[in-house]
Amino acid sequence: MSIEVRDVHKTFGTFAALKGVSLKIQSGELMALLGPSGSGKTTLLRIIAGLETPDDGSGDILFHGENVAALRAAARHVGFVFQHYALFRHMTVFENIAFGLRVRPRRNRPSNDAIRGKVASLLKLVQLENFAGRYPSQLSGGQRQRVALARALAVEPRVLLLDEPFGSLDAKVRKELRAWIRRLHDEIHITSVFVTHDQDEALEVADRVAVMNEGAIEQIGTPEEVYDQPASAFVYQFLGNVNIFEGRIRNGRLRIGCLELPVSSPESADNQPARAYVRPHDIELARIVAGEGVRRGTVQHIHTAGPIVRVGVRTFDGSQTIEVEIAREKHQELDLRVGNVVYYRMRHSQIFVEDYSI
């Protein structure tokens, strides 16, 4: 079941939460909606589910090429996992999961035995076999999350929508559930959209990522595409840590102080302000001057905890401190101390003039 969103607008009062969003999700795909808080992710998801309607006369939602704009949520057969679970507090885990089956019209409601069997198999799927009789308040966050997922899956939805499914969990459980959801998706191949504001999560789990900002989609692509070829400064910044160097275009090159970086397209106007974006791991450090484009700085701080070592380097003119990430071995080899003079070189950078990539 493919999903297509065409030019959807949504306004709350005078506030435009979605400003013309278009999105195509292939059948069986796992798509991540990534964006900062308030960027409209939940709103978009709710519109797809039919829990919210787009502004009058704007946009269409198509499931498998068929327009579902007129269908209410109950008729769309969408599984929705809510940001805060929204479990039924007065029902046991079993009854929560069985809910979607019990509310079916009599003629296609499964028998009690069939419901029991179905719920049992779902409990097994989400690894909560022994929790059928508990109430939501007796479960941990991760367990509630899985109940919410099982409840959504019970109705055999055509599409699965997950709103920050790992939002309120600790880092370790998040990682487990992340891998688990990917496996689950590979098993049942249901078209899924999941919302997150955690870039690692999106890049790790999804087939494709849609990056949202202020009610619009900035870029859609595979995790590699959005990470390696960000379409805008926003995407570049949102997908990881970044050092920003401000400069001006001179003769087709970006000049930052006395450093020059090549600009890939030559038609940019002379003397235009521009910024170079460099990831911390795209900066090389050395104790001696070697090669071209090397700048001098002093080590300001070193954080050695974790798999990589983060070094703060103050630029020679003292205008900014850049963050550099190097491997542990490299750090040992360089034997850096705070106050040492180091030479740094940008291995890779991307230049944006007024937010557009050139």
């Binding site: 109950a74 929204a86 039924f88 007065h90």
Partner: protein, 276 residues
């Protein structure tokens, strides 16, 4: 009731608070109630039994408890509805309506009784329209029902309102996305969350109605065996200096009310502990 402080209580002062509560309850409730029992005991069992079971008194129990229960039921249903409208809809004059709900609390009960009687009498604003339909309100048990419903109105509205406000709207969305229609969403998801509060409200309304005096005696007409409420009988006996008779009836009312309240509380406790 729990007499031992939880070990890791956030706030200190459990003993002090508990002690004060017990002292306060004794002073305000237990001692006067005990006095009633002692007074009754002094009069002797046979006299007690005779007074408490005389036909006129039994008829008044039936009216007081029966009509109070009906009034509480009516308030349960319409109070729920009113709370729903006040929480879920925006309309002009909403604050006015909200304030109006408390009016039966603020109005002196005698004033309420007199105005209700005026309105529902055969020549009153509403009474004159009901008369051709053959419905008599003032000076009938129906009149008692109207008065008791009136004074009990705020309870259910005020107990349900905050619960409804706190209700997570996403739960309704979840039900809808699982295929539930509106009616199913209401009775499977919303109602189970509301009914304990509604029951509390209806219980309070019932308790208030059983003891109500001022607003009823005007509209009921106070005909023995027909529209005489138990509190009125007590007052009548007191006026005749028949203290033993008055306390005998009071004891029956007390025991009956207390048993009912206890039963409802147990029901609520049971339902609350099912979910935790």
């Amino acid at each position: 009731m729990r007499f031992f402080a939880p070990k890791n209580n956030v706030l200190p002062g459990f003993r002090l608070a508990m002690g004060f509560t017990l002292f306060y309850l004794s002073l305000i409730v237990l001692i006067p109630v005990a006095a009633i029992f002692i007074k009754t005991a002094a009069a002797g069992w046979s006299q007690f039994w005779q007074t408490a079971t005389s036909p006129r008194v039994v008829a008044s129990y039936r009216l007081s408890f029966g009509v109070s229960a009906l009034a509480a039921l009516a308030n349960g249903v319409f109070g729920l509805l009113a709370a729903w409208v006040l929480v879920r809809y925006e309309f002009i004059g909403k604050r006015m309506v909200d304030a109006l709900v408390d009016l039966p609390f603020a109005l002196p009960t005698a004033v309420a009784g007199i105005s209700l009687t005026t309105v529902y009498a055969e020549t009153g604003w509403i009474g004159q329209w009901l008369k051709p339909l053959g419905v008599k309100v003032a000076f009938t048990p129906l009149g008692v029902l109207v008065a008791l419903t009136f004074i009990g109105l705020p309870f259910v509205v005020r107990t349900v309102q905050p619960v409804l406000q706190d209700l997570d709207r996403e739960v309704e969305d979840a039900a809808a996305s699982l295929g539930a229609n509106r009616w199913q969403t209401f009775y499977r998801v919303i109602f189970p969350a509301l009914w304990p509060a509604a029951l509390t409200g209806a219980t309070l309304a019932f308790a208030r109605a059983v003891g109500e005096y001022g607003s009823v005696i005007f509209i009921s007409g106070n005909m023995p065996m027909r529209t005489e409420i138990t509190p009125l009988l007590i007052v009548t006996k007191l006026e005749q200096y028949d203290y033993a008779g008055a306390t005998a009836i009071a004891v029956v009312m007390l025991v009956a009310s207390f048993s009912l309240l206890l039963l409802i509380n147990l029901l609520q406790w049971w339902s609350a502990h099912r979910g935790t």
